[in-house]
Symmetry: C2
Subunit: 197 residues, 2 copies
């Protein structure tokens, strides 16, 4: 007779969960997001796909767990997109700064940014950036040329991260959110809906 603790629960243990996560990280890194299925992760870990869903949710959730993302960018960015493209440059920047100015999220995000210099992890960061952050925002805002426009936005935000939080260039490192909005929001807004040619 099964013990009370196991009754009604699917088989698994902390080791199983860690093993699934390790296989997911390995497959996402080696093959990219698109070519990696939950079924393949489950097979590599020697478990059923249903158990992967049980522990981690959707493939996107599994991917964010594999990335060790400290937050779900989709839920953070949803309010930015809801307001439409007018003023989205400023809203995106204010949301971005609120996440990065908070040490609790900044430190794990910095660890993630650092991995772009690891060739084995670069593909995961690229997938994460495009599929979890820039892609959904571009789609929700309905911008034209979404890949170009959102990668321009991403390049300015990545540069702001490097300058303000990594290299700590002054006056950017000490600037207030309002000062940064005055400088950067027009750039982001033009990348979202201005002329690019």
């Amino acid at each position: 007779m099964p013990s009370a603790a196991r009754r009604g629960r699917r088989p698994g243990s902390p080791d199983t969960r860690a093993s699934i996560l390790a296989e997911a990280r390995s497959l996402f890194a080696a093959q990219g997001y698109a070519a990696t299925s939950v079924r393949a992760v489950a097979a590599a870990a020697g478990v059923d796909a249903a158990l992967v869903h049980h522990y981690f949710g959707t493939k996107d959730d599994l991917f964010l767990a594999a990335l060790q993302a400290p937050l779900d960018p989709r839920s953070v960015l949803l309010p930015v997109a809801e307001g439409g493209v007018d003023g989205a440059g400023e809203r995106l920047l204010r949301t971005f700064l609120s996440v990065w100015d908070d040490e609790v999220t900044r430190l794990p995000l910095l660890a993630l940014v650092r991995t772009v210099f690891d060739p084995d992890r670069r593909q995961m960061v690229r997938d994460g950036l495009m599929r979890m952050v820039l892609g959904p925002v571009g789609a929700a805002l309905g911008v034209d040329q979404p890949e170009l426009r959102m990668s321009l936005v991403g390049s300015q935000l990545m540069g702001l991260v490097l300058a303000r939080y990594v290299v700590e260039v002054e006056p950017l490192a000490s600037a207030s959110a309002d000062q940064l909005v005055a400088a950067y929001a027009p750039t982001l807004q033009r990348y979202l809906d201005g002329p690019l040619t």
Copy 2:
């Protein structure tokens, strides 16, 4: 009697040169550019300051050697500044792309960019960026609020490096110089001489 090879040369050897460079790197990294004198580097290496100048030239030259910079940014950037602030955004970007699109300079520059994540080296990268690249360009162009304007320029260029050459986000990774100029030159130009508040 001294050998022919040594006649007319100051004392020194490849080991002395390497030792000076190692001490310079250590002092610049620990104390920053401003607080490090050629005299202090010479003392740490146990040689005369004149020998440091003999091997490396000025303090700026010694600093660039310690950074392992693959080029002298001052000579590369001089033509950008000579044309005045009108159109400087586009000239700066084209010069920047010509340096970064060339693998011979790109690979050592990428090695340098990677060191910003090393806390012991970060100060050197910051000093190098501000004193050798952004500072001289801002001064030569005569922009107002040079620290703010040039650090904004630097943040967009750093982000372009990360997006195009490190993360390799498309379409930025494959874009032509003309396409990048169309997208980025107006941003850089506004950072140089446009309204920021």
